[in-house]
């Protein structure tokens, strides 16, 4: 005979305290990727205007190095947020309706990768455009059928 379940039943409280989450776990929104991509583009702009943007006690080199480090990180977050959408939110049924879905994510994450290397705000805009396309499809799938 197992003694543990017996003890457990004896010491079990009558009251339950909920460490709860009312949301379906998994709140998805392409806005997360977009916000990080906005950062990427803003950093690219700041990199270009580093001379004016840098602090009085910062060298140009320091300012730009910091910009690059932040951009690298933010671009990676774009990728992660897109991957979560791609692999967790979208289903085969979505793919049937939107056959271009894989291609859209491939292009957008490619742009996120390119953003790590590029200091051109126009490239950042291409990343934002690619995310906007995904965003459009995302909200279409949220419409009641």
């Amino acid at each position: 005979m197992q003694i543990r379940p017996l003890i457990e039943r004896f010491v079990r409280p009558a009251t339950v305290a909920y460490a709860h989450c009312d949301l379906p776990c998994g709140v998805y929104d392409p806005a997360q990727a977009r916000i990080e991509a906005e950062s990427v583009k803003a950093v690219q702009q700041r990199y270009q205007n580093a001379e004016q943007m840098r602090g009085a006690n910062q060298t140009l080199e320091d300012y730009r190095s910091r910009a690059l480090a932040i951009k690298e990180e933010r671009a990676n977050m774009v990728k992660e947020h897109l991957w979560v959408l791609w692999t967790d939110y979208f289903t085969p049924a979505h793919l049937e309706k939107y056959p271009q879905l894989h291609d859209m994510f491939w292009k957008a994450t490619k742009e996120a990768g390119a953003a790590k290397k590029s200091q051109d705000p126009e490239q950042g805009q291409r990343l934002l455009d690619a995310i906007a396309e995904i965003d459009k499809v995302f909200w279409e799938t949220k419409q009641p059928a």
């Binding site: 409280p13 339950v16 460490a19 989450c21």
Partner: protein, 184 residues
């Protein structure tokens, strides 16, 4: 006939045993017990943990930060969450929790607040607290229902007594801030 001397002792012992078995003593010493359901307080609390709650007043200052409390929600459910904002705080919740613009360092918390749960500045008045689940990616808490009042808080979690392998006192998380200057 002489009464046996042990008789009063036996009566007293019986009474004590009866009182103990009725669990009424718990209320007298202002304690109660709850079972945890849900995963918003992981990893500190897992579903199925049994917790001892001390029914005492919550400090009105910073010393309340980090306490795990049981509170009565609007729908009358008992919730288990951690105090993150105390009276007088101005908090903003995004990827981090900021108190008056300084990001809290919260090693007990994990997961990212979903963008839909971001909140602008909440200024807490007297007797108001902000409570969050440690699992920031999956918790319904003050990010949804706003500040809670001291009267809603029924007690402080003090001890986990089940499962026996994880028996132990529940400690208050210290209030620390991230080094300033991380990002603009």
């Amino acid at each position: 006939m002489r009464k046996p001397r042990w008789r009063p002792l036996l009566v007293a012992l019986t009474r004590v045993t009866a009182a103990f078995a009725s669990f009424r003593w718990l209320r007298d010493v202002r304690l109660s017990v709850v079972a945890v359901a849900g995963e918003s307080m992981t990893p500190a609390f897992l579903p199925g943990d049994f917790i001892l709650i001390a029914r005492r007043d919550i400090p009105r200052n910073e010393r309340a930060y980090g306490l795990v409390v049981c509170l009565r929600a609007a729908d009358d459910r008992l919730l288990l969450k951690r105090i993150v904002g105390v009276p007088g705080d101005s908090l903003r919740i995004g990827t981090t929790v900021q108190v008056a613009g300084r990001a809290l360092l919260e090693p007990h918390a994990h997961g990212e607040t979903p963008a839909a749960q971001y909140r602008g500045v909440s200024a807490l008045g007297l007797g108001e607290y902000l409570v969050l689940g440690d699992n920031r990616a999956a918790s319904t808490d003050s990010r949804n229902f706003g500040a809670v009042r001291a009267e809603q808080i029924e007690g402080i979690a003090v001890l986990r007594y089940w499962p026996p392998e994880r028996l132990g006192l529940i400690r208050r998380a210290p209030r620390r801030f991230a080094a300033s200057g991380e990002y603009g």
